[in-house]
């Protein structure tokens, strides 16, 4: 059976003609350069972004970090001391530890959220500095 070939193959000349700068170009609008310079001047004259007050925030970060460490240490110590208390059969361990575990969990989440906040802040600062 004779193959049907209705369209010829594209040749290099077809590519050259269709994609060459001469056959496929536009002229920028007459006000394009002025528009760019206006945007540039506006940006140049804009006040620089306010720097993050690291000096003021640093004590807060340090305190938060220290509290987080203390809480973690406290939880670890409490958990290690539980076998000793389990000797007394009359004490309901779960009832005693429940509030502690609850607070420890909350503290952990607080720490995680603080760390995420710091990380996102650093990321934003990096983005701003690269742009």
């Amino acid at each position: 059976m004779k193959p049907i070939q209705t369209h010829p193959q594209l040749t290099d000349a077809d590519f050259d003609y269709a994609l060459s700068p001469g056959s496929d170009s536009i002229l920028p609008s007459s006000g394009f350069a002025d528009s760019v310079m206006t945007a540039l001047t506006r940006e140049a004259s804009a006040p620089s972004p306010i720097a993050f007050p690291w000096k003021r925030a640093l004590p807060g970060f340090v305190v938060a970090g220290a509290m987080a460490i203390v809480l973690i240490v406290a939880v670890v110590v409490l958990l290690r001391s539980t076998p000793a208390t389990s000797v007394a059969p009359s004490v309901d361990l779960q009832a005693v530890l429940a509030p502690v575990v609850h607070h420890a969990t909350a503290a952990l989440w607080l720490t995680v959220s603080l760390l995420i906040s710091v990380a996102s802040l650093l990321f934003c600062r990096r983005l701003i500095s690269t742009n």
């Binding site: 193959p3 049907i4 070939q5 209705t6 369209h7 010829p8 193959q9 594209l10 040749t11 290099d12 077809d14 590519f15 050259d16 003609y17 269709a18 994609l19 060459s20 700068p21 056959s23 496929d24 170009s25 536009i26 002229l27 920028p28 609008s29 394009f32 350069a33 528009s35 760019v36 310079m37 945007a39 540039l40 001047t41 940006e43 140049a44 742009n131």
Partner: protein
Amino acid sequence: MTTVPQAEAHPTDEAIVARVLAGDTAAFEGIVRRWQSPLVNLAWRFCRDRARAEEMAQEAFLRAWRNLAQFRGDSAFSTWLFALATNLYRTELRRIPAAMLSLDQIAEPPDPAIAGSAIEESSRDESLRRAVLALPPKYRDAILLFYFHEQDVPAAARTLHIPEGTIKARLFRGRELLRSKFSRPRAASKSASLNTQHPREARTP
């Protein structure tokens, strides 16, 4: 009549960059006026939308101005500028594609039985340009840059920061994809005599 020294009348890009870095923001206009047409046209090739092309070119100029201190003069200013603009355009296209068309959705080329007129050829050329945009990005970028730089493989390679061999391979594959789209029947034998390497690619050092 006073004569203006050539260097002052047409300062080089590097001289303008030095002035801008020294605080003369207005001097950047020389860069904008000199390179506005190439940058708008490069953007036009990536999106085929005049308004968007100008927006992207404007953003490219602004980004170039912000990052001007990073231009160290290792290469020509134009190379640096085109690389920066190309990166920006590619990022923009990833964010908002130029046309939500796949290769199969591109308008079929005209039937050769009725082809031959200037209108049909123009339609075929436009279909081909749109088909280039529908290629996978790595082939699209290679073809766009190769033809934008007037078929200069080293220039396209420098702009895309990839080896010349990679550009050639992507050009080859990109053209193959376009040929398969623009030839009928699709399963027809690929001519053994089909020249898939552009003559300009072979002459590169």
